[in-house]
Symmetry: C2
Subunit: 204 residues, 2 copies
């Protein structure tokens, strides 16, 4: 199984490639990509090798379009991925307003909130009571959910999502959710990210 850092770097490479492409370039060397992505050229080649991306040509580098196609295959970018959002508060609103997900073929198709005043059509995406999760998940074939509720409600929300066959969760609440191990959870704890930054900044 490929590990988190590999995947992370591949995603960074993709962004760099898109940038290069927008700038009008057609080929890159591992050296260029490494510079832009802040890793060594050897690391770039090693990562490609691991994912069996071997379309580079000695002395002629890689065609950017080819690389992007390979990455799209790895990340299954052939069709949109529907995602639901639970908790239409500060973070929830920010995410639901974000236009950049479209480029990644990620579509937040609906949100859910327990606060009836949020259950309106006045946001960019419809906001339903949590009881409707089941219906929407089935209708839009949703496998992925975002938890953006206060930590007091996060485990309960998580349980409900899993009961509705959600397979992957991105969790913004600052607790470690309990879940069966076939459900993948990506915790994004922004306060801890800040702390970690502060730690490395002050101890460098």
């Amino acid at each position: 199984m490929y590990l988190k850092n590999n995947i992370r770097r591949l995603l960074v490479y993709r962004q760099c490639l898109i940038k290069f492409k927008e700038l009008g370039f057609e080929i890159v060397y591992s050296y260029n990509l490494g510079c832009e992505a802040n890793v060594s050229p050897e690391q770039v080649r090693k990562d490609f090798s691991k994912f069996e991306i071997k379309e580079g040509r000695r002395k002629a580098g890689y065609k950017i379009d080819h690389l992007l196609e390979s990455l799209d295959t790895i990340f299954k970018k052939d069709k949109d991925q529907n995602v639901i959002l639970v908790g239409m508060g500060n973070i929830g609103k920010a995410l639901s307003n974000y236009k950049g997900f479209a480029q990644h073929k990620i579509v937040i198709c609906a949100a859910f909130d327990i606060d009836p005043s949020k259950q309106t059509k006045s946001y960019k995406i419809p906001v339903y009571p949590v009881e409707n999760i089941s219906m929407i998940v089935k209708r839009h074939n949703v496998k992925i959910a975002i938890i953006a509720v206060p930590k007091s409600g996060a485990q309960e929300v998580c349980d409900r999502l899993i009961a509705n066959d959600i397979q992957g969760i991105i969790n913004f609440s600052p607790i470690n959710l309990k879940s069966p191990k076939n459900v993948y959870i990506n915790n994004i704890d922004l306060a801890n990210e800040m702390e970690s930054l502060i730690y490395f900044t002050l101890n460098k």
Copy 2:
């Protein structure tokens, strides 16, 4: 130098410890902490050992308060850390509204935006034109900044921050900022986080 994962885990341990404490517990075993933090007990002990936290007692575990004190020392939680925010859009507003940072002794003391309509006192924190960064940084002894502007402006903002002696940056814009290596940068790319979650979910 301690590595990112160590620090990350320590921060997770702290959250778990706070939770245990709130539940009325006074001691923990590495086993309990491991369960809660989703790591092995050996990993917990190894992490403690590495940071010279050796106040456990065989068969009697660790006093939660002692552990929290040690962690506070490592993370210098004796005083507030002032932070500035550049870009008062979706993400910027969410962060500036968040009450949870206080618990971590993180204070977002001011925000900056190029849009004059945002430069008001109507938000929780004052929003200034970017020209004022220098003044505020000096006044509040700021070392850390958050970049929450569109990617087109991110490098320019980054350069300005560094010119004003900012030492650490948390960057929400989806590009790799160029910076001298004595400036620590923590990139949080939410779209990539989503993609990484989707990858692992669909390939598990």
